[in-house]
């Protein structure tokens, strides 16, 4: 009996050791790659996305603790398409399993092409130009797109009852595409639209705003650009005081940073925003995301961090699934990502055959007394729209 018990203990110990050993053998370290503009003109947005990626890696390491671990190797593309390509080639040479990041459609285009040539998945939220997904690259994935931004802007302007709109837009790929889409949709609904393109070097918007004021005489001004451009446009508008009922923008505008940095300029201005500010999270994953973000960066998360987090977390989960299915090393990651159907911090995400997330719809926030209040669509709103109202 004693010998039987001893044998049983020995066999059990051996079995446990084998089981643990096998488990340990399956645990893997995954190296992700990230190319982002950490310096240059897009440094602000690149760093914002980088923060979200870091949070995703931190949280994934917690949720997969004991099974897998993840690291991210980041290369600064210096806001240069050529350096974006070089970064992807370097990351491919260093053996990353996939790439998350990228900002600016003009950089993401060639960088993701280099990833495609290297057989690497490239997932982003930093470029909304339709041309990126129209290429049909099987390794390219994007969680947001122009349609989602355009729908939000068009929806808000329609709810306001604007009959004449002036669109002031930057002449880059993503901003031009969005402006033209909004123009087409509004024109089709009988709205009179004035289109005003500007160059990235424009710092004095008064001559342009004077045209809008004296020639267009719109009900609302729609701005499609970046932080710098919004500040310039709003300052010019504040000086010239056109008779409009609303100033509406898109990304990088309804943010905590803009509320803090330019409080007098932002009041009542609208912009796309997934989150209100101060941030209100209820879903457990979102609460953990906000807490991790605060721990790592000592500030509340913004939309850039949120998008960077979502794209990276979806990628990590797909990497694990592909690894478990034994297809990761056989080029199975794109197929695994395409199977994604997840409710995330930015809503439901699935990918079509071109890697686009057709579920993406944005929300509109309005700066109100130092806060960002979600005002559109109605079912996502956490406050009332202050309309008509302008910052001057």
């Amino acid at each position: 009996m004693k010998r039987m018990l001893a044998n049983l203990v020995t066999v059990s110990t051996l079995a446990l050791s084998v089981a643990l050993g096998a488990g340990a053998a399956q645990a893997k370290d995954f190296l992700l790659g990230s190319e982002l503009p950490l310096t240059g003109s897009l440094a602000r947005v690149g760093q914002g996305m980088h923060e979200g990626i870091s949070v995703a890696v931190e949280m994934a390491n917690r949720s997969y603790a004991g099974k897998h671990s993840f690291k991210v190797q980041t290369i600064d593309d210096e806001t240069s398409p050529a350096k974006g390509v070089a970064a992807v080639e370097k990351l491919a040479g260093d053996g990353v399993v996939a790439i998350t990041g990228g900002y600016g459609s003009n950089i993401i285009g060639p960088a993701s092409e280099a990833a495609q040539k290297a057989g690497l998945v490239y997932i982003t939220s930093g470029g909304v130009s339709p041309e990126l997904t129209q290429r049909g690259y099987p390794t390219f994935f994007r969680i947001n797109n122009t349609d989602g931004y355009a729908l939000a802007m068009i929806g808000l302007l329609q709810d306001m009852g604007a009959r004449k709109v002036s669109i002031v837009y930057l002449n880059k790929d993503a901003t031009s595409s969005l402006a033209k889409q909004v123009n087409g949709a509004l024109t089709a609904k009988g709205v009179t639209v004035g289109m005003h393109e500007f160059d990235g070097s424009t710092s004095d918007f008064k001559p342009l705003m004077n045209k809008v004021k004296l020639q267009d005489r719109p009900d609302a001004i729609a701005m499609v650009g970046y932080e710098n451009d919004y500040v310039g446009i709003l300052r010019a508008a504040k000086v010239l005081k056109p008779q409009v009922k609303a100033m509406v923008g898109v990304w990088s505008l309804a943010t905590a940073q803009m509320a803090k940095e330019f409080p007098d300029l932002m009041e009542t201005v609208y912009g796309t925003s997934m989150l209100p500010y101060p941030v209100e999270f209820t879903h457990p994953e979102a609460v953990e995301f906000a807490a991790t973000y605060k721990k790592l960066f000592n500030k509340d998360p913004d939309y850039l961090g949120q998008f960077g987090y979502v794209q990276t977390r979806l990628l990590i989960d797909a990497v694990v699934r592909a690894d478990e299915a034994g297809t990761l090393s056989k080029g199975g990651l794109p197929d695994e990502l395409r199977k994604t159907d997840a409710n995330t911090l930015i809503g439901r995400v699935t990918f079509d055959k071109n890697g686009d997330n057709l579920n993406f719809t944005h929300r509109m926030g309005q700066h109100q007394g130092g806060k960002v209040v979600l005002v559109w669509p109605q079912d996502a709103a956490n406050g009332k729209m202050n309309f008509p109202a302008v910052p001057w």
């Binding site: 950490l38 310096t39 240059g40 003109s41 440094a43 602000r44 690149g46 760093q47 806001t79 002449n171 005003h196 393109e197 500007f198 160059d199 070097s201 424009t202 710092s203 004095d204 918007f205 008064k206 001559p207 342009l208 004077n210 045209k211 004296l214 020639q215 932080e227 710098n228 500040v231 310039g232 300052r235 504040k238 000086v239 010239l240 005081k241 940073q257 940095e261 330019f262 409080p263 007098d264 300029l265």
Partner: protein, 292 residues
């Protein structure tokens, strides 16, 4: 149409003043040393960030930050000069490489210290509008910077023409060997030029911080604009800088008004090329042009 044109001319004039303030320091250094300081825009930016730091950390008005910014930018400028003065071979090309590198270092230092967010003054007075005859609109900051820039440029022009050091600067610019034989200490005069350029850069930084927005990548943009204006003016010509800058400002503004804002940079470059085609040494060029 008349209102549009008037506002375009007014905006162009103010923009020209702003461009001139940024460019005149570059022109002065080129006039004395035959060196294009490609870190000049970053020095302007450094001054803007010092104003930002003073305002946000100590709550002081950006105007009060000018003396502190002057000391910091002056020290940075002196370092640039100290490094430049060690170049003895192929000075013109090697100085370009050196100052370009220094510009990158300064940009990244600014990025590390102040991050990539955009900033501008929170003092509302600077953004308040000034209306002339119910037709011409500008921000207080733009008008104040224009007037201040003009006064500063006039002061530099007077200094170059009527003070011993100013005449020494011009003498050095005209003929270095002859000036040295006449008792001018070239190193002392060169560093004086660099410090004067630092003063101008400090004021330009203040103008940008109060009237525009600042971010780390801006320095390079300022350097390019200053370089174009310096060449357009006639290398080293101070009055030429003002005329060239106003021409660029006005042509850009009229292009925005009557064509498209996306063509304004192109219009400025076309003007630049036309002037160089007609007068290859620039508007006020033709040899040693300092202070003409």
């Amino acid at each position: 149409m008349f209102e549009l044109t008037l506002q375009a001319l007014f905006s162009g004039l103010l923009a020209g003043g702003y461009y001139a303030t940024v460019a005149v320091g570059l022109a002065l250094v080129f006039g004395t040393m035959r060196v294009i300081n490609l870190a000049h825009g970053e020095l302007v930016l450094l001054a803007a960030y010092v104003a930002y730091a003073a305002e946000t950390t100590y709550g002081v008005n950006p105007v009060m930050a000018i003396p502190v910014a002057l000391v910091i930018v002056g020290a940075a400028s002196a370092i640039v000069y100290a490094l430049l003065s060690r170049i003895h071979q192929d000075r013109e090309i090697n100085s370009l490489i050196l100052t370009f590198g220094l510009g990158i270092i300064l940009t990244n230092a600014i990025l590390s210290i102040w991050k990539a967010d955009i900033h501008s003054t929170s003092d509302p007075w600077f953004q308040d509008s000034m209306v002339v005859a119910d037709t011409l609109f500008a921000m207080n900051a733009e008008v104040a910077s224009f007037v201040g820039g003009l006064v500063l440029m006039a002061g530099v022009w007077w200094w170059l023409n009527h003070s011993w050091q100013g005449r020494a600067v011009r003498a050095l610019s005209s003929n270095r060997a002859a000036a040295t034989l006449m008792g001018v200490n070239p190193r002392r005069i060169e560093i004086l030029s660099f410090l004067t350029a630092a003063l101008l850069a400090t004021f330009a930084g203040f103008a940008i911080y109060t009237g525009k927005t600042v971010f780390p990548a801006l320095g390079h943009v300022l350097t390019v604009k200053a370089f174009i204006i310096t060449v357009l003016a006639g290398m080293g010509s101070i009055p030429g800088v003002l005329v060239g800058a106003v021409m660029i400002g006005v042509i850009e503004s009229l292009t925005v008004t009557y064509l498209s804002a996306s063509l304004q940079e192109l219009a400025g470059m076309v003007l630049f090329l036309v002037v160089l085609f007609v007068s290859p040494s620039g508007l006020f060029g033709g040899g040693r042009a300092l202070a003409r």
